[in-house]
């Protein structure tokens, strides 16, 4: 029995290593100076078809130069970093304000057309951006919101995905609790605020985590709706990579992934709950 378990552990570690190798390379590469990057990665960027790129898990000549360059020398990076924050935080706040009551309404009440409306919400959740791209653009244009932060924030606030996730959590709250609250004289609003939200807090946390991961790396919306580059978020920083910037771009990649990574590590439990809420019948 012991031997079998050890074999399984070994296999697990191999799998985990495979998953982690790309990340480790990214991490290692970010500490390399420009010359080393060109030597190891350059063949891939410059079109020099003679040499091959090389594997690396540890830099040969570690240096902090790319990070220094990035953090101290590139104002663009900071501007975009704050742009990302200024987009993601309002989106999440807005989603809480809009999606939580909506999820409550769907979960705890029955009304005519609820099923139809909810199916519509699910369908909207699944539509890729490109389908609603045109319509979004036209509305934002009519509202004169194009090229402002609101062009990205507002449509995202009304996304139906958090409604769905939080709905699942609210559904799990026993009716008996609500009835007890009613007996104690709570009106619907109070029931919602003092029973629903506290009990549904894990769900709200889960939706927010998933939302953060999603909007921190969103690409299509800012690309389409924000023509003014000074408003671009961090996720759009990397597309224009040349060999000269290679070292810096590796360091940038690492810095960009730190916030979502932190969110992930702090709230992995909620993330798992959120994922399961989206997928499983309670």
């Amino acid at each position: 029995m012991l031997k079998k378990q050890t074999l399984k552990w070994l296999f697990l570690f191999v799998l985990m290593a495979l998953v982690l190798v790309p990340l480790l390379m990214l991490f290692a590469g970010s500490f390399m100076g420009l010359e080393e990057v060109i030597e190891k990665v350059g063949p891939v960027l410059g079109g020099n078809s003679k040499t091959m790129a090389k594997v690396f898990l540890l830099p040969d000549y570690p240096t902090l130069r790319p990070y220094v360059e990035l953090l101290l020398d590139s104002p663009a990076f900071f501007v975009m970093f704050w742009n990302s924050i200024k987009l993601v935080i309002p989106i999440l706040i807005g989603q809480i304000l809009v999606a939580v009551p909506a999820a409550w309404g769907f979960a705890k009440y029955h009304f005519k057309g609820k099923k139809v409306l909810f199916t519509l919400y699910i369908a909207l959740m699944l539509m890729p951006f490109q389908v609603t791209m045109v319509s979004n653009y036209l509305v934002l244009d009519t509202l004169h919101l194009l090229d402002t932060r609101m062009a990205v924030i507002l449509p995202a606030v009304f996304s139906t995905f958090p409604v769905f996730i939080i709905y699942r959590f609210f559904k799990g709250i026993p009716e008996a609790l609500l009835e007890a609250a009613a007996i104690d004289g709570a009106n619907p609003l109070q029931t919602f605020l003092y029973v629903g939200i506290p009990m549904g807090a894990p769900g709200i946390a889960a939706a927010m985590m998933l939302g953060f991961l999603e909007y921190w790396s969103m690409l299509e919306q800012p690309l389409t709706f924000l023509k003014d580059k000074s408003l671009w978020p961090l996720s759009l920083y990397l597309p224009g990579i040349s060999t000269n910037d290679a070292a810096v771009s590796l360091a940038a990649s690492i810095l960009i992934l730190i916030p979502p990574l932190l969110v992930f590590l702090l709230g992995q439990k909620y993330l798992e709950q959120g994922i399961q809420a989206a997928g499983l019948k309670e």
Partner: protein, 305 residues
Amino acid sequence: MKRLWRILRKKQNFICPNKTNGICLKKINGSMIPILFIAPSLIGVSIFVLIPFADVLKKSFFTSNGETFVWFHNYFTVLHNDAFRLAASNTVKFAAICIPLLVVISLLLALFLNTINKYRDMGKSVFLLPLAIPAASMVLIWKLFFHENGLINGWIEGLGGGSIPFMTSNAAFWVLIGSYLWKNMGYDMILWIGGLSSISLDLYEAASIDGADKVQQFFFITLPNLIGVLFMIFVLSLLNSFKVFREAYLVAGEYPHTSMYMLQHLFNNWFTALDIEKLSAGAVLMALVIFTLILILKRLWGEGD
């Protein structure tokens, strides 16, 4: 406040069967209250999604300046458009290949993790990690792996084979699939683990007693109980498969190799070219297909509410 609630409640006409302390315990059917809760979301969704989409629907029947009514002409144009056909077939091909692949691999992973006691949580964290990594961060690494002079070709050549030009050939397709699998394996795995944990262990015990071996237990207990989960995993994986456009766009730009050219690329390019006629017809078509797919899946798997 109390008067306001009473006025709102008066809208409905049912007889309250259970009155305790003067408060009605029956669920409030048909009253205005749920509408109030849903209102902000509904209003926003209408403004930003539903109404504009109706407008796009209308536009799809006109020429781009909106003056001439052209019936289904735009739809015909789109359906006969070579780029559309290529993109549509690629998108379908991608979904048809990578979703089953992902579903099966993540199931195997989940089953495997369930049999390990000690490092299970670590395994979960590691496999879930790629989900937290922004697509932009991984682009350089994918280029590194899959370029003509990249790492994988380096290994292949080291072993004596010929290098595969990943990004400029049909293999580009597999690059996309690889990055999709890496990113979403953990996601689906968590779903499977949740599904597996809801199967009562008593069932397995009873089956063992009746003489069923592990394989039989898998096929006759585990699988049937997972069908409900399968529907949602399928739907969510489908949703995530559309997001793969991000990686493709970042790695290969607006006009990648033909095998990677998906509907999102096409719409994006039509958008840049301001081709409203094709865009609106295409968007309506795609929405119809996805909507139908959801309805079919719902019917098939009977996903209750």
